[in-house]
């Protein structure tokens, strides 16, 4: 976790802001937020304008887009993926479930919410959040770096 405060050169910091590669992780969400994430990548919103590309491997990722409440099943996988991600990375909690547990708060199978497990940089509430809100959240998160 202390790796996340890794010193970045000015050039790499600029690169990180201009090319955030996103990895999409579902930790037990109902798939609604996931569809909204895919909306961001469609020609209508075209996130590649900002260099945002969806990558398949957490090793390549700079932004973890996490949806869902973190169920007992996905808890170890979430830890694995977070450890596999090359630091520094930005963790974005997308949707009411990832932010707070939403309507599942207090369920028997819930380990989350997300910020109890890994450090979260950006919260994007909504059930599901609109694509505009997701882009806005990621941009605000990058401004923090």
């Amino acid at each position: 976790m202390e790796e996340n405060e890794r010193k970045l050169s000015k050039l790499s910091r600029w690169g990180l802001k201009k090319s955030p590669w996103a990895f999409h992780l579902n930790t037990g969400s109902c798939n609604n937020c996931d569809i909204e994430i895919l909306d961001v990548l469609t020609p209508k919103y075209d996130a590649e304008r900002f260099g945002i590309v969806l990558v398949g491997s957490p090793r390549h990722a700079d932004v973890l887009l996490v949806t869902g409440i973190v169920t007992m099943q996905t808890y170890p996988r979430l830890l694995h993926v977070y450890e596999q991600t090359a630091k520094p990375c930005l963790v974005v909690a997308i949707g009411a479930c990832a932010c707070s547990g939403g309507i599942f708060d207090g369920s028997y199978h819930m380990v989350g919410p997300l910020d109890k497990i890994i450090p979260v940089d950006v919260y994007i509430p909504g059930c599901p959040p609109r694509p505009e809100a997701i882009i806005d959240g990621v941009v605000k998160g990058l401004a923090k770096l």
């Binding site: 790796e3 890794r6 970045l8 050169s9 050039l11 790499s12 910091r13 600029w14 690169g15 990180l16 201009k18 090319s19 020609p43 075209d46 590649e48 304008r49 900002f50 260099g51 990558v55 398949g56 491997s57 090793r59 390549h60 700079d62 596999q84 090359a86 630091k87 520094p88």
Partner: protein, 310 residues
């Protein structure tokens, strides 16, 4: 060798026309690829500095070495491939700029060095102890076996045609004296078509992105790579994107140094991008059948025609 000589050589390899120049042109070409793809899909696409930002970012990121991988090979492979591309780009540009230079390498050296990046991907992927990477490496190997045969035959069609000149400088000088190879008969045109099909396969884009197939194999041999080694791979790919069209132009379509070369370069890139955006990915057996069937037959027809003097 005197010191100034040595410095000249280092400058040739490291700055112009070797590493820096080819990297800049290659990164701009890979941006061109992404921008044109975006426009074809009714999107806006990334800004011109996108590929530079990608590499700059990767250079600053953490490099993760997966537990149980062959560390030295895993970290070394990207740089071997990268070094090969730097050398091959220097040789190619020097052959075009100074065809009568002391050592400008020959066709066989270039073909040999063009193998190395693919080999590096295979070795690096296999060393990373990841099932996706292993599958990707095995597919890359099969793809290489598929496309190289036809391409080698088409390259040697030119040698048959020009009367046994294999040095690149000689080939450039020959074309400057008696017109570009493409204007010298049907056999060269056939060879050029085969070589054009080779370009997307070598770059692993378009219908031939079988090793990286992101919806099946995460990202194939690159799955475990992060940080600097991944940047080396990305840079190698980008430079290949510059080197392959330049190679084709050098051996097929050299005219006296002129804007025609730039037009050719853009045309080849556009061809690659159009093929990439209009064709779905082939399965590895389909690709193998395609290259060992029609493409191989075409290249053999080409070399037979060349030996008949057509």
């Amino acid at each position: 060798m005197s010191l100034t000589n040595l410095l000249t050589y280092v400058g040739l390899v490291a700055v112009f026309p070797g590493f820096v120049f080819t990297a800049v042109v290659g990164l701009l070409s890979s941006w061109f690829d992404r921008k044109l793809s975006a426009r074809l899909q009714w999107r806006v696409g990334p800004p011109w500095y996108q590929s530079f930002a990608d590499v700059a970012k990767l250079l600053g990121k953490e490099t993760v070495v997966p537990a149980g991988s062959a560390k030295l090979v895993f970290l070394g492979a990207p740089f071997v491939g990268f070094a090969a591309v730097v050398v091959v780009s220097t040789i190619l540009w020097m052959a075009s700029i100074r065809p009568d230079g002391a050592f400008v390498g020959d066709l066989i050296v270039v073909l040999y060095l063009l193998y190395v990046p693919s080999l590096a991907i295979i070795i690096g992927g296999s060393a990373s102890r990841n099932p996706f990477a292993a599958l990707g490496a095995s597919r890359e190997m099969k793809l290489m076996l598929a496309y190289e045969v036809g391409f080698l035959i088409s390259a040697f069609t030119l040698v048959v045609k020009n009367g046994g000149i294999v040095s690149l400088g000689g080939m450039v000088a020959y074309q400057q004296a008696s017109g570009p190879m493409l204007s010298q008969g049907i056999s060269c045109i056939i060879a050029f078509i085969v070589a054009l099909i080779y370009v997307p396969a070598k770059l692993a884009v378009g219908p031939f992105d079988i090793p990286e197939a992101e919806c099946e194999l995460i990202s194939g041999p690159f799955t475990e790579y992060s940080g600097v080694p991944l940047a080396a791979f990305k840079l190698t790919k980008a430079m290949l994107m510059c080197v392959l069209p330049v190679f084709l132009i050098t051996v097929f379509a050299t005219t006296a140094w002129s804007p025609w070369a730039i037009l050719w370069y853009v045309l080849i890139l556009v061809f690659v991008v159009l093929i990439k955006n209009t064709n779905p990915r082939l399965r590895i057996d389909q690709a193998l059948r395609f290259f060992w069937g029609p493409v191989l037959v075409l290249s053999i027809v080409g070399i037979v025609l060349a030996s008949l003097g057509l």
